[in-house]
Amino acid sequence: MLDVAYLIPALPLAGFVVLVCLGRRAGDPGAGWVATSAIGLAFLSSFIAYVQLLGKDGEARAVVKPIFTWIRAGGFEVEAGLLVDQLSLTMALFVTGVGTLIHLYSIGYMKGDERFPRFFVYLNLFAFSMLVLVLGDSFLLTFLGWEGVGACSYLLVSFWFERNSAASAGKKAFVVNRVGDFGFMLAMFLVFATFGTLDYQGVLSRVDVLTATTATAIALLLFVGACGKSAQLPLFVWLPDAMEGPTPVSALIHAATMVTAGVYLMARVSPILALSEEALTVIAVVGALTAFFAATVACAQNDIKRVLAYSTVSQLGYMFLAVGSGAYVAAVFHMVTHAFFKALLFLGAGSVIHGLHDQQDMKHMGALRRLMPVTAVTFIIGWLAIAGVPPFAGFWSKDDILLAAYDKSPLLWGVGVVTALLTAYYMSRQVFLVFYGGERWRKAPTAGAHAGGGGAAHDAKHADDAGTGGHGAHGDAPHEGPWVMTLPLVVLASLAALGGLLNLPFGESARLEHWLEPVFGEALRHVEASSAHKQALAAAAGGAALVGIAIAYGIFIRGRRTTAFEPPVLQRAWGIDALYSALIEKPGHALSTFAARVVDARVIDGAVNGVASLVRAGGGQLRKVQTGYVRNYALGVAFGATVLLGLVVMRAGA
């Protein structure tokens, strides 16, 4: 039974291996098709597994498929195996599904890049790692995937390594994630010290042995890991910079899949979280603050991808708000819908950038809806979904979260609603700036010269590489991409529009909740509220979205303005990067320099060389005694004899 589950991670791995072996021979677009079919088949396998799982009882839907013993030392043993249950399969389905679409899209987007095959090598490796992350049956296997996706993220963000900004961004992503991993690792140590195993089943079935303190510690340490991977305060700083990577990467890794790993992890350990109200509160508060914070920053960004990046941070904040409120299903639901619409938005943005020859500054866009109709329509669907306009997917998932948040604390709910308003505003701003208004791209400076926000801009070189050919430098009319790029847009747009169907809050149609419930069990909190109450809250959320859109409409369409409320402090993301630089980077560098130049070179090695010099100097002094005069030598002998005689006489006298 369910042996097909093995294929889910195996296929992308096989794709990776094949592409590595083929190297450059795989070619363009051959490598892309290999990779795409690998992950496409993985999606198919996931779907088959899903069907097979449906054939079982709710309780029996958690199946461990062992693979081999990975590590064993003394009492520590890690069996590598796949944990196929409702949660992991849900993740696998949307990871492979969205992944397939983005792979497909990449074939068009990356066309002509000199490292085209390598890109798909990385993508397949990423897909494999992500699937290991979600399907792993123990903390350590999840960690394997967790670090694997981090490494792939590093490789893909710095894919265009010729640009220093891309290289730095990749490094930053990895290092900041490592800070989070620090928490994850400590959590694993604590889990092992407590349970003697790292298996999910071994741990989660015995959480009752945990004391409250240990539970809080484990939960918070894991949350630190999640903060790193899912770009929550205070570790969010890498995600905006990660937009230096090719846009499909942003869509796949930094919107749809990898960044949601933190949420997945929290959902996975829900039985532990359930033991610690403090941890839940911390998670909820951090989530809410991140959501609000990132939304404010998103309002002031000019780079089309950075807006989406901060939006992603903000939406992830929502998911953590849900987790903190005990609404795991809502978190997963939002994760899925967010994967649909945010991937869509990124791919749309990529399409725009592609069409404008790597122009990313929204101030130099406008009126593109006529020239890029497919992109425009799908992007608008994405916009409506993320803004929370009924009946698009985002509305339903966000509504679930806000409901749970209200149950946790009205204050959190308030923050959530304000964030929803901001979300609607900044997304509307983006849509209006890009697709409406005047054709500002006609008089735009050379692409990349005007770096928006953090300075994300492709260099001119890539403009040549990634150009679809047939047209020269800028000045050409923006154009739609090939079908491999538009098809994913259309599919994702339909999902973004209809994704809400997964978990409609009406009666028996809450399929996702029903499906996932056995995973969370008692950890899952059900909101006990009247339906009138629920409807009022939903109306408030929907209203906030509409207000946000209306404000943006007033400013950018009615007011025909291209700038609104964009204070520098928000453009610089509240100066957090600068703060880290001042508080950590510079003192750290100073400390390291001190350690290397003073402690190591002067103190320690100085002592070592000092001993050598001392011996030398001692020898230099001593040799002066050796004057060359024979009577001095005789004096030496006589002196020695006298001392010896003195000693023995003293001894004899004593």
Binding site: L2, R72, A73, G74, E162, F189, A193
Partner: protein, 555 residues
């Protein structure tokens, strides 16, 4: 491919390189090809023998295997005793693998004959140290490695090679001075009464004649020698100089094998001979190890010379190994032993790669390099893999050891483990930053248009990359051989001291697994077909583990 039980494989492994060195020394200088081939053939032969050894090694046996014992200097109670157990096995294999690579890989620009001869002597010395079960014999091998390495650094190194080689020699000799005195003190104190003088560590460990303060002092004397070799903070400053100035092969062997003599020595002699003292002084060594981890990483961050950076990264990595050793848990110790091998592979590979860059650019200064990935994508890719292994990325070898060390330390010395984990962050920082500066960006000046890896370079790197991946994905065959010996060592420590390994590290974990297996078995009843092969696997593992564990509990 088994060998006869009476074939003295260990003595052969030690003797072959020595004989080959003599042969090379007798060959005419005018036949460089012949010299190279003889050297390579000998080291490959040793490599094959070590692999045969690993295959013939019985995984479940904790004690020494293939023991060959001959009387040597009877008047001193010294014998030629070679033996291998799980702790030394893979270090021997590592040496067997790294030496042919180091001999074949980097080009030698002058006096090939002496170079090959010294390398072969070095190989014999290193392997001999790992195999010796006689304290005196170990010391001989331990010391003799200095000579070839000294000549290799001094003869084929870079600008500052003389300073570096002399520093290396004297520093190590300084540590050994303490060890020699400590060793003699131990031997003679153990021979009080009617017991004959012996240097056989098995016998010495059994007698356990020294205790209390005496044991602590002697232990410290041993540690002084090993700490220099490891090198442990603050006696590490010879390492950056030696590494930087050594020729590529020298750095590879130095990092890959020679440093392990220190960590191996601590495990084999420190823990075996002075269990109580080791337990007593563990906090000191743990602290030094942790300082080394953080300090090495910090200092590595600001290095301007690529080789020096890798050298300081070794200080940090070796800190982990010492940390795991003094955790006194099965995981920590197994992790340490495994990490010795891992570090040898990944740092050896890093030095080879840096050497390849140097061959092309004639500089190691990070500031003078940029954008190398542009013209050398393959080299960059290999570098990335090795770097990620060094960072400790799961799925590559570095992680398994590091993780075992940390988790093993955590259960006994929580806060040390926590601080050491910070080192994991820093490792990423300095290596990625260096990678960015060297490989990323747009190449300028001399960095444009460099040739990518040659066939020879690929041949050299291929086995290392394969091992890096293999040990990351499937370390079990290695751990299965390490584990029983580590178990025995911890047993030994526990039987001589009040120290008890936390149950979670010893067997609680396995009990949990067993319980789970029970559940799994019930499920398997329902899903008979899918579970069959996995069940077999579990059963085998349970037996192997059970024997080793429960012997101790009864004591």
């Amino acid at each position: 491919m088994g060998v006869g039980s009476d074939f003295p494989i260990l003595s052969t492994i030690v003797a072959v390189p020595v004989l080959a060195a003599v042969v090379v020394a007798l060959l005419p200088r005018s036949r460089p090809d012949l010299i190279r081939n003889v050297g390579l053939a000998a080291s490959l032969a040793v490599g094959v023998l070590t692999v045969v050894l690993a295959i013939d090694f019985e995984a479940g046996v904790p004690g020494y295997q293939f023991v060959s014992e001959h009387r040597w200097i009877e008047d001193f109670g010294i014998s030629w005793i070679l033996g291998v157990d799980g702790i030394s096995l893979f270090l021997v294999v590592l040496s067997g693998v790294l030496f042919p690579i180091a001999l074949y890989g980097p080009k030698v620009h002058k006096d090939l004959k002496s170079y090959v001869a010294w390398m072969l002597v070095l190989e014999a010395g290193c392997i001999g140290s790992f195999l010796s079960l006689d304290l005196f014999l170990f010391f001989l091998f331990f010391e003799i490695t200095l000579v070839p390495m000294y000549f290799i650094i001094g003869g084929w190194g870079y600008e500052n090679r003389v300073y570096a080689s002399v520093k290396f020699f004297l520093y190590t000799l300084f540590g050994s001075a303490f060890m020699l005195v400590g060793m003699l003190a131990l031997v003679y104190l153990s021979a009080k009464g009617r017991a004959p003088v012996t240097f056989d560590i098995r016998e010495l460990a059994d007698r356990g004649a020294v205790a209390g303060n005496t044991a602590r002092w002697i232990f410290l004397a041993f540690v002084a020698a090993f700490a220099v070799k490891v090198p442990l903070f603050p006696v590490h400053t010879w390492l950056p100089d030696a590494h930087t100035e050594a020729p590529t092969a020298g750095s590879v062997i130095l990092a890959g094998v020679l440093l392990k003599l220190g960590t191996y020595g601590i495990v084999r002699f420190g823990l075996t001979l002075f269990p109580q003292a080791a337990v007593d002084l563990a906090p000191l060594l743990l602290t030094l190890a942790v300082i080394g981890i953080i300090y090495g990483a910090l200092v590595a961050t600001v290095q301007k010379d690529l080789k020096r950076l890798v050298a300081y990264s070794s200080v940090a990595h070796l800190g982990f190994i010492v940390l795991g050793t003094f955790a006194f848990t099965n995981q920590g110790l197994s992790g340490s032993v495994l990490q010795m091998v891992n570090h040898g592979l990944s740092t050896g590979a890093l030095f080879l790669l840096v050497g390849m860059i140097y061959e092309r650019r004639h500089t190691r200064q990070i500031a003078e390099l940029n954008g190398l990935q542009k013209s050398m994508p393959l080299l960059a890719a290999v570098f990335t893999v090795v770097m990620l292994s060094s960072i400790g990325l799961p799925g590559l070898n570095g992680f398994v050891g590091e993780f075992l060390i940390l988790i093993g330390t955590f259960v006994t010395h929580r806060w040390w483990a926590v601080v050491a984990t910070v080192g994991v962050i820093l490792a990423a920082l300095y290596l990625l930053w260096a990678y960015q500066r060297v490989f990323h960006g747009t190449p300028t000046g001399d960095n444009v248009g460099l040739p990518d890896m040659t066939r020879r370079e690929k041949t050299v790197m291929a086995p290392l990359v394969v091992l890096i991946v293999f040990l990351g994905v499937y370390p079990k065959p290695v751990l299965d051989r390490i584990d029983p010996s580590v178990d025995r060592l911890i047993d030994h420590v526990e039987s001589r001291t009040d120290y008890r390994q936390p149950p979670v590290a010893a067997d609680l974990g396995r009990n949990v697994r067993a319980a789970e297996r029970g559940i799994a078995a019930q499920r398997a009843a329902r899903e008979a077909e899918g579970h069959q092969d996995a069940g077999e696997d579990h059963g085998g593992a349970g037996e192997g583990g059970g024997e080793g564990e429960h012997g101790r509990v009864d004591e």
